[in-house]
Amino acid sequence: MITEIGHFALVLALAVALAQTVLPAWGARTGQAPMMRVAEPAAIAQLVLILVAFLALMNAYVTSDFSVENVVRNSHSAKPLIYKISGVWGNHEGSMLLWVLILALFGAAVAVFGDNLPDRLRALVLAVQGSVGLAFLTFIVLTSNPFLRLDPTPPDGQGLNPILQDPALAFHPPFLYAGYVGFSMAFSFAVAALIDGRIDAAWARWVRPWTLAAWMFLTIGIAMGSWWAYYTLGWGGWWFWDPVENASFMPWLAGTALLHSAVVMEKREALKVWTILLAILTFSLSLMGTFLVRSGVLTSVHAFAVDPARGVAILLIMCVFIGGSLTLFAARAGGLRQGGLFAPISREGGLVLNNLLLTTACGVVLIGTLYPLLLEAVSGSKISVGPPYFNMTFGPLMLPLLLAVPVGPLLAWKRGDLLAALQRLYLAAGLAVVTTVLVFALQRRGPWLAPFGIGLGAWLIVGALGELAGRIKLGSEDLATTWRRLKGLPRSALGMTAAHCGLGLSLVGIVATSAWQSELITTMKPGETRAIAGFELTFRGSAPRQGPNYREEVGVFDVARSGRAMTALQSSKRLYDTPKQMTTQAGILVSWRGDLYAVLGDRGDQDAFAVRLYFNPLVRLIWLGALVMFFGGLLSLTDRRLRVGAPRRSKLPAAQAAE
């Protein structure tokens, strides 16, 4: 019964989306206010209906209703409850429902919080958002309906892929979707502004917090995926430049550029064209990512096993929205009023450079991801483009950007003094050089470029903190004044400092792990000891164990350091019941220096197991940095100015006549 309600709600949402798309747009065109006012209740109704559908599907999973085909394919009665819940979005149909749910959530947010927007703009924004929802709801209802039934009802389900039965991966899709579907709002705003023919600082003030929220969630979503891949796949790696990973990374790069561009728009009403183009680009990349993951055209550890017919449908949706918005941009962007002027050396100039480098880097990743597809379509030869390509192209492009990051905030708006800014960075530069030299002296192996990478991370962190210290006049005034200044700073400034520090932390983690990882592949019999990175691991042997829906073989390693016993690491191979599949759980020992990582392999002859040991220096900094970036974004969201709203120009009293 509940499933039927959910199904009905889904189809009703489709109808509401149609209304939301057509009526407000027509109202905006003809100036009819009642039609424009349809937008808000429609957006809220759509959210409610899709939420009902989503909860109905969740109910089907939790109660193990095997008359629903989706539940049969992806669930099992013996699955733990939390994975029954996360199984809702662990498959194509359910995750598409989550996709439109978040789309509707952002649309409803505009409806509820957008009172201070001009009526026409608001109606257009909701119409565009509605059109995206319309396209995807049609797609779901016609090709990917999660509510299809099976008759006769099978006794039990086929179970969820064991790799997905994991806490981090269970919640990785909601964060990821809140991220790149959230960019739909910036997209809707950009297209609406193009249709409206106007765009100003108030527009940017409205768009920035929601774009920031989407960006924050995407950062966490990507970090969670990376962290999950690290501890689950057993390869000690945290990023593989896999096409599906790239599909989430590209919107992040474009979204970061968009965020910074929106700052300039808000402060100086400049970079309008850049901001609109980036908004369109970011969401287009999100759409493209959705297509890549589900169409079956790419080989990937992550790809959903979906039939190509659906891929064609998403490709069509993609072409309509991307092509349509870019055409509109080409036609209308020239008509936008020119914003504030600025000198090339200024904060705006720095942010233009930022935009340029980020979009170029994004483009480079795009080429590496799509080139194999294009080549195959054109010439039939199958190739793959892997980490070597990306390291060779993405790294060099990021380098000038990372060097410029601490300099940018020190430049003034409109016309900045580069020399003065660099002078204020003497401390950061000095510490960066000292760090580089220290690391160079301490390292015993590894690429000679690595110390520079660590130095660059130090440059970022000290540069950001130094800029903050300069603003609150730390050291040149007494502590009470400094503290007062710190409290009085706009939160967005603190957010920026935190985010840039987070970037530096992640960079240090990335460089350290890539440069100085230790790896040992060996076989071990019970009682044997191996040494790695200052640790000694003794294999105690393995024993079988029973879990809720799996049987596992657990290997135990005693870890000692310089002879002193520390703890025991467990690594296991699990055989799940349904579906019958093996997974490997790595044993990880976390320390300040890095992670000790042990993976149990197959049993060979005479009780010897294949064993893989890693030491990953400072690897946790990568995800810690992402977390710090998230908190920086959160700080920025609590800025008072966002709650107060855009300033309105007050009418000046008529000038007094000269006496």
Partner: protein
């Protein structure tokens, strides 16, 4: 600086950045591109030992041999030709005889393929598209229809 000069310098810098990017991309693509072949492609292409490529096909039944150490040997087949593969390391969990596999590495002078990475499959029903297409082209891919007819 006039608006025109500013725009010109912006375009110049953009072109410079793009130029560098394009240069890097072209160089990197040429250098790091890895082709995909099945065992029977190899004899046709007459690949030199030492060249890096990806080998795809099915793991031949009964061919997996685990020696005393960490080296695993198995044979990859496209139902026409077989190729012996040697891999040092731990195989991915979903590696199984009779299932699709993609390995990346180099051909040794002895004719054995030395793999340094073996790709894991996604799930039971997933077959890497390149492998499926290659097998289809060779006419040996049965696919779901044939399985149902049984």
């Amino acid at each position: 600086m006039t608006r025109k000069q500013r725009r010109a310098s912006l375009i110049a810098i953009s072109l410079a950045v793009l130029g560098v990017a394009v240069g890097l991309v072209l160089y990197a693509l040429n250098d790091t591109m890895v082709f995909f072949y099945t065992p029977s492609d190899l004899t046709a292409k007459r690949l030199q030992p030492g060249q890096r490529f990806r080998l795809g096909g099915l793991v031949a039944e009964g061919s997996v041999k685990r020696g005393g150490g960490t080296v695993v040997e198995f044979s990859v087949t496209d139902k026409i030709k077989d190729l012996q593969v040697s891999y040092q390391g731990i195989l991915p969990d979903l590696f199984r005889e009779g299932q699709g596999v993609v390995a990346e590495g180099k051909l040794a002078p002895s004719g054995v393929f030395i793999a340094d990475s073996v790709l894991a499959k996604h799930d039971e029903t997933y077959m890497p598209p390149e492998v499926k297409k290659a097998l289809e082209q060779k006419g040996v891919w049965q696919g779901a229809k044939a399985a149902k007819q049984k």
